[in-house]
Point group: C2
Chain length 110, copies 2
Amino acid sequence: MTPAADLDATLSALADPTRRGVVELLSTRPRRAGELAAAFSVSPPAMSRHLRVLRTRGLVEEARGGDDARVRMYRLRREPFDALRQWIEEVEAFWGDPLGASRDPAERRR
Amino acid sequence: MTPAADLDATLSALADPTRRGVVELLSTRPRRAGELAAAFSVSPPAMSRHLRVLRTRGLVEEARGGDDARVRMYRLRREPFDALRQWIEEVEAFWGDPLGASRDPAERRR
DNA sequence: CCAATGATTAACTGATAGGTTAAATAAATA
DNA sequence: TATTTATTTAACCTATCAGTTAATCATTGG
């Protein structure tokens, strides 16, 4: 199983609405730090710290943009999302899910 | 898409290690509150509050145990886990996942 | 070289979360 | 009814977190 520490890092990173919004934006395409700050109308320092949280916990990675070295591009990393999804699937095994069945929400609930 | 507020409730509930441990325990079978408190060596009041968080956010439900009404059993609710898994899958669509492919971690990472 | 731009770090602040002990509530039992 | 057991609520304390402004670092372009 995924080390508990990793899950903790991932979940506490995603527990913040701004960071979750960042993740959603980045799931469209990589973005610059400033672009992200503007998108959520938080100050650049605030966004910088959110990005640091996401980076140190492995949810995003920094890729210094090619031509202009002042710019920092951020891109999603897959691993933590895979690990979290897997954890959820293990929990959901409680309902006897044959792993992929009952993707349909119209099924029994409890 | 799942309302952002629900995701926030689910994720902030799961961001705490103790509550996550409770979820893992409950994914085996429903338990009494006291049983859970003992399992994580936290005081009953602390566990009570964790359970309230999990309950108000819909991750567990209370099912007053049949014979002894002092006892309260807690049981997992499926909905929030489904919703969270779905959100993750949407994010992971970034990698062109055909929804169920690349369950194999040996695939490309970014 | 100097001014402007993109972003981060530093220092401070207010709000929130989780833990504890003590008191209260509720129900089974002697 | 009084006592014991299971759990929650109340009150309090400390630590952490997210946001802000001001200062710093790095890079580009006049």
